[in-house]
Subunit: 338 residues, 2 copies
DNA sequence: TTTATTTACGGAAACGGTTGCGAAGAAAAT
DNA sequence: ATTTTCTTCGCAACCGTTTCCGTAAATAAA
């Protein structure tokens, strides 16, 4: 345990505890020579102020929480990196909580956050059906929240997101223009607004181009998803274009196509929301809608810190849109196998 | 701010603060009816004890730190997941710190951890040259540490690792048996013990099978790495087998081969340490040495909590070996293009 | 009935910084 | 010389919980 504290410094310096405390915080009330004496000894004794004493007194922990559905996913990993980068330059610490796409866990986490352990929260919702009471309770405790990507429309808090509707439209349009006649959209949630928006973009593009297409509602069970996709691609009237809303579903599509002997892009064209670094190295390389994950994390954290510094007023329609980018590759190509 | 505290509960119940505190901790000193009254009101008022007051008083924060070089990497992401899973079942919170492969950041983080903010640390070193004084100082503050993967041999602390020497040997042997005559090993560090062990396995396999082979020392600068690999594969006497110690180098090899028009595996066979979920979908699919990342995280966290519960005595040679697994795929195949 | 032992709870001192207020001494103003 | 104003620092309360210790009442033992 770190046993060097203010009291010891004060005794050693023949000063009071309060003077030492103020000197270390570079208060104007303390003379320069005294400050220097204090700094010197503090450094010599490697004094580290007890963060818990400070948090208790100041009602501020200099800690934020990041609540996300999963971490083994390039998008969220990059977002964490963005958040952590900003946090450390601000002198904040980052607690991480994984919901594993399970609402019950999200509720439990939100509940534990009510204790005042953190000054603010950056979060991305899990995909299952959402009752947002646990988040409302957090709001009522005056714990600022900022959403990113998987936002909650029902809650008044800043939201950092991508242009999901347009991206869904563009992805679908891209498939159509690549020659697809019968499409399918793989989605992970019927409650997340980002899923609904991507889906709406898909549907509107279908109508705009007068194409046929269905929607497959996947979940968090990988095996079940695999079977659903297998069924989809096994039928007589299987789609010749698939738009996956998350990369893990695209990966499943690749596996299913291998198993069924379907060629991409000749038999089925594939496009997906994804931040896979290996997208260009896949066989065939995968056409993606890539989100600026790192920047979204940075932006969300930046907004949160502005809120914590009271330099920010939240409005109901408070959102930052960072554009996703279409990266055309072979999986939606004309058909040249390489 | 959460303003319902013990004092308010006590006033409401006509009890003393100490009694309420004891009741909530289910102390034997408190009668059952009193406990029930306390529990009922605490639940009704949604009482959440202030964790900072508790930490200050008990000198325990129920928080651990995870210090890793990066997060946008399947290995570390899965390890975090393993650590977080164990932590939450134990009621602990997880702080995350990224060194970005920068020793200076690692030192700064270690220094900030001296404050007693965390009860223990799970860490994986960054690759640059290591002076371990900052870690020794943490040890001296009685903050338990557990290493995983990128361990420090100079420090007496539990280490969770894979059989790096054998894996290096096996990987090299696999390339040799696939027909490679001239090998190259891409490594990221000259100071990490895991790199040295993988390298030693490589060298011993070369000697055992009487093959020629060099070592390319890469760093954390992706562009520089790319150029080094490009130079390696551009020469007249380029290798026909490459063993990458981390997946990002294997990805670079793929890109370089595309640029140079080299065919994998016909011209160059590639094997790599990697936890890429898309390894089997790459073009060609990548032969990997996969580490049990999730289990390594779980194991490291489990050991740390045993230490925190004083049920664990550390010995200098304290290490857990979890075996890595060779997954043979096309990148080291006989040459069939698919 | 008196004395020893439980049982159930309250008082108060921690834990280590932070901060409002007051006060002593020096400097400046009158 | 006296009063006022700074400058610099100390005292003590405070944040919310935990825990040592003490004590009154209830029960058991003598």
């Amino acid at each position: 345990m770190n046993s060097v504290n203010l009291k010891q410094l004060a005794r050693e310096l023949n000063l009071s505890v309060s003077t030492v405390s103020r000197a270390l915080r570079d208060s104007w009330e303390i003379s320069t020579p005294t400050k220097q004496r204090v700094f010197a000894l503090a450094k010599k004794m490697n004094f580290q102020p007890n963060p818990y004493a400070s948090s208790l007194r100041k009602h501020r922990s200099r800690t934020i929480a990041v609540v996300i559905p999963e971490v083994a996913n390039n998008f969220f990993a990059l977002a964490i990196k963005g958040i952590e980068t900003v946090a450390r330059t601000k002198g904040y610490h980052v607690l991480i909580y994984l919901t594993n796409e399970d609402v019950a866990e999200e509720v439990a986490i939100a509940s534990s956050l009510q204790s005042g352990r953190v000054d603010g929260v950056v979060l991305s919702l899990c995909g299952s059906a959402q009752d947002t009471r646990h988040l409302v309770e957090l709001q009522q405790r005056n714990i600022p929240m900022v959403f990113f990507d998987r936002v909650s429309e029902g809650i008044t808090a800043p939201k950092v997101m991508t242009n999901d509707y347009e991206s869904g439209f563009v992805a679908t349009e891209h498939l159509v223009k690549a020659g697809c006649r019968r499409l399918a959209h793989l989605t992970i949630s019927m409650s997340l607004s980002i899923s609904l928006k991507r889906q709406q973009g898909y549907m509107d593009a279908l109508r705009r181009y007068d194409r046929d297409g269905g929607i497959v509602h996947c979940g968090s069970d990988d095996d079940a998803n695999y079977r659903m996709i297998r069924t989809l691609l096994s039928g007589e009237d299987r789609p010749d274009g698939v738009f996956a809303s998350v990369e893990k579903l695209a990966v499943q599509v690749y596996h299913v196509c291998r198993e069924l002997g379907l060629r991409i892009p000749e038999d089925v064209k594939v496009i997906s929301f994804s931040n896979l670094v290996t997208a260009s190295l896949l066989n065939p390389s995968l056409t993606t809608i890539a989100q600026p994950a790192f920047d979204m994390g940075k932006e969300a954290a930046t907004i949160l810190f502005r809120r914590l510094e009271k330099k920010y007023i939240v409005t109901p329609e408070d959102r930052v849109m960072l554009p996703a980018k279409l990266e055309v590759r072979e999986s939606t190509g004309a058909g040249s196998s390489r």
